[in-house]
Symmetry: C2
Subunit: 209 residues, 2 copies
């Protein structure tokens, strides 16, 4: 049986990577073999594309070029990481996936949503079984993110209104697809965020981890 | 008036770059302002993608990933080089364009032609006014190409049958679109190849250069 596919979405500094690691540990402890991955990247080919993508000026590439680069990386990531893991029955937890493309490149930078949907279909992007949207006030999030790592800051450097548009886009997706998405308040402390995520996994996917 | 768009297509070692330079010089001498460019690449963003694309193993990326990377680079190249030049009335000579994607990624590596056509439409790739297909026996072409430069050899390292498939694909495109394409025998000497190209420009585009 194909393993479940869980994506974590949200703005910069929402705590997605921390939560992703915690969920993978808890699922493994509950006996669910789990692959933890992230986008852009997640396979050697996709990581090479990521390196091109995340550094430099936000305007380095035209928005459509960004969308195509992400689709290129995603096709490789699906082929080499996500699909093989799920076929082997492993669950996959992915830090960012198609919703980030719709929020950043679509809502944030104006790429036609129909183009993004065409690209999703073209690479046969799997629909997540569960998407956890970590909602964070952009002011707090970007501040938190800037302390966390260096160099990969191409989108952190966009202005506040960009990040507010991205936040609204994530909340819009969650509202449009309530069966797939659960919004979690990322301002809660780490334990409370994890508890909310584990609750969602229990109620939506039937595994108590 | 928008400048004419001429593409040069064909396998490795067909002499496309040499011919492209010669045509640009002759057109400039005839008073036609000309921009000489090439793919993959042709703008700073696209060149960065080219660097990722042309080196390493032929199987480095999945074929669909390659097609998306090329489309990403092409979108940037059109936006930053081809469209502005043509809008300023300049002619553009481009060493490789969409036909190479159909021949290498489509016929050669099995990406669905409908996917490639969708990508062409998605990035609004301009139709060339004239395409010169330099036809070369793959055995001679790959040998010639290997001497010419180093490092950018990802596709030269594919086997002979791959290059034969690519050759047949270029000839098929020329047969299907005779109004756009002129096939030139690349085994002729350099002067004869250039003369044939200038004849095509004169008869198809009305400029004697």
């Amino acid at each position: 049986m194909s393993g479940k596919f869980i994506t974590l979405e949200g703005g910069e500094g929402a705590g997605k990577s921390t939560l992703a690691r915690a969920l993978a540990e808890r699922l493994e402890a509950a006996g669910v073999q789990t692959t933890l991955t992230r986008e852009p990247g997640g396979s050697p080919g996709a990581d090479a594309i990521r390196a091109l993508f995340v550094r430099g000026d936000a305007e380095k590439f035209a928005p459509l070029t960004d969308a195509l680069l992400i689709a290129a990386a995603r096709a490789d990531h699906i082929a080499h990481t996500i699909a093989p893991a799920r076929a082997a029955g492993r669950w996959v937890i992915c830090d960012r996936f198609t919703d980030s493309t719709h929020a950043y490149q679509g809502a944030g930078r104006g790429v036609d949503m129909a183009v993004l949907t065409t690209l999703d279909a073209l690479i046969d992007a799997p629909k997540p079984d569960l998407t956890l949207v970590l909602d964070v006030d952009p002011k707090a999030g970007v501040r938190r993110s800037k302390g966390a790592h260096s160099g990969e800051d191409r989108f952190e450097r966009m202005d506040l209104s960009f990040h507010q548009t991205v936040r609204a886009a994530f909340l819009g997706i969650a509202r449009d697809e309530p069966d797939r998405c659960v919004v979690i308040d990322a301002a809660l402390d780490k334990d409370a965020v994890r508890a909310a995520a584990l609750d969602a996994i229990a109620s939506r996917l039937g595994v108590h981890a």
